[in-house]
Symmetry: C2
Subunit: 326 residues, 2 copies
């Protein structure tokens, strides 16, 4: 029975998640008043905390939540916070979760240092807890995330991304962190490599489905109050799966004309043109079908576990991801 | 007998340093062409490699250079490269070592990601080599460096820095990395905590002397072809030791007037005014005497070792640091 809301999904670890929230806040205390100020600003925004949720659910399913699970959850949330802050500098974003972004309020200067600081604090948690297995996973993830984004920027300039490159990019920049959450959650509770491998793959497949859905929403989403507007990727010349497929299916002439529109810097008229083009050549349905394939894989990765409330929560999270409208 | 030039200082580890250079280049290979391109650009600039030099000399002095010493040297150089790239974003710097900075050529976007990438690559070296002792030292250093810079920004805005805060800032933002170089070099070769502690303190004292000298040069340096111009700190409202002392010594009236000049945003006339003020109240001599105190401490930290070519090189490096003219 699939759970329909995030509050139902959270149920098996509700107490632990609120325990985590307390610990997490405490772990960010600093003697530097500017840091205290910014940290409080970030807490006020209350993100969905999907990553700690993944760690704790994976940990519960793999053997039970313990002290290491909490450290793992804090570690990934700190890393996630660090990358969001750096991403907002990278993208020149002015808002985040409906609040002005850190770079908008405190300038790039502070945002860059703050990201480094949060990353270091996260790594220190693992060092202090002697969670060397976490460190190995997490440092590789930091490398993959930055390398994935750099690859995307590199390819975006040339407007040539094939499906293989697309998957490499989204696997590195998005799926790697979700995969790490699930792997760390499992490692906190077991040393059974089959379980750890299954949870890692679950996270990877979930992450890929998540990013494809995100990319689809750029073409079919409704205008959002918060978050990026429809066609944002097109304006930034990011070529994602729906468009890659349409470009492959379209006749040479039309293909070239669309690429010219994107290249010259799309305004609203060009965005509409590209969206119609993608729909005409079935790019949305194709991307949808691929996303479903990855969600099926993710659900299958959980089959090694007996049915349980935690397993249902993770299955529901998969459904939640691909059905979301924003 | 103090060595007068960097090439003499390098002597005891000349072969190892060139071995390091080869390994370091190799360790940065990437499949992403943009990364290859930027990495080659950085190699072309040939920094002085003071930090790997410190690691290798410390290692040689503490027991002998081995595989871990090389990994330690690569680790600190990668971390240093990462922080330089991020610092140039933080400072909006347009040049670095006489070349256009990464952010100037490839924009902030790429510079932020690249810094993260180099940091991750460095940490991965330690993870792969199972140098967990290095990881513990290095993550704390990343925290200290970012926290130190954030503290400086925080205080700069308010124009109120006392001597205690000044030392906290320079210890965190500058001395921590030099201290880490020496500690990691020692740890690579010995588990004798007395030796490790002495090398750590040597690096810390060297780093503090280095930064005080750097801050003095802002008042008495000659205009440089490369690097920051005379009075750069004053224009950025950074209050450093010579000025802190002069402000303490001057009568209330004059003190207020100087602070007003700095606050309103110093042009060349105000810079000259501040420099004269600092000289009048003996700020340069005071800072000089403090720097000397720290270099004496550093040289004393080496007294636990027998005399040797490596010890002489480290002693000479200390002299080199406080006598440098730019």
């Amino acid at each position: 029975m699939i759970k329909k809301s995030l509050s139902e999904i959270i149920q098996p670890i509700e107490i632990e998640l609120s325990e985590f929230n307390k610990l997490f806040k405490k772990s960010l205390k600093s003697k530097v008043t500017l840091l205290e100020l910014i940290t409080r600003y970030i807490h006020k925004q209350k993100g969905k905390k999907i990553r700690p949720l993944l760690v704790l659910l994976s940990s519960k399913l793999s053997g039970g939540i313990n002290e290491r699970s909490f450290r793992g959850a804090s570690l990934v949330e700190l890393l996630h916070t660090a990358t969001l802050i750096h991403d907002d500098v990278v993208d020149n974003a002015e808002t985040r979760r409906g609040f002005p972004s850190i770079n908008a309020v405190w300038k790039n200067k502070i945002a860059v240092l703050l990201g480094d600081y949060f990353l270091a604090r996260g790594l220190m948690l693992a060092v202090d807890g002697k969670d060397f297995d976490f460190l190995s996973v997490i440092t590789n993830t930091v490398r993959r995330m930055s390398e994935g984004e750099l690859l995307q920027i590199n390819k975006t300039r040339k407007l040539n991304i094939d499906e293989e490159t697309y998957f490499r990019i989204i696997s590195d920049k998005t799926a790697s962190l979700l995969s790490t959450c699930c792997e760390i959650g499992a490692r906190a509770s077991t040393d059974n490599e089959e379980i750890i491998g299954s949870m890692r793959m679950f996270g990877e497949n979930l992450g890929i489905a998540f990013q494809i859905r995100d990319d689809i929403l750029d073409f079919i989403g409704t205008k959002k109050v918060f978050g990026k507007p429809l066609g944002g990727d097109i304006k930034e010349k990011k070529i994602t799966l729906p468009l890659i497929y349409a470009l492959k299916e379209a006749p040479e002439e039309e293909r070239k004309s669309i690429l010219r529109s994107i290249k010259k810097g799309a305004g609203n008229a060009e965005v509409d043109e590209v969206i119609s083009f993608v729909k005409k050549y079935d790019g949305i349905n194709y991307a949808d079908s691929i996303a479903k394939e990855y969600t099926n894989r993710a659900v299958n990765n959980l089959k090694i576990f007996e049915e349980s409330d935690s397993r249902t929560s993770l299955e529901s999270l998969v459904a939640f991801v691909v059905e979301r409208k924003n």
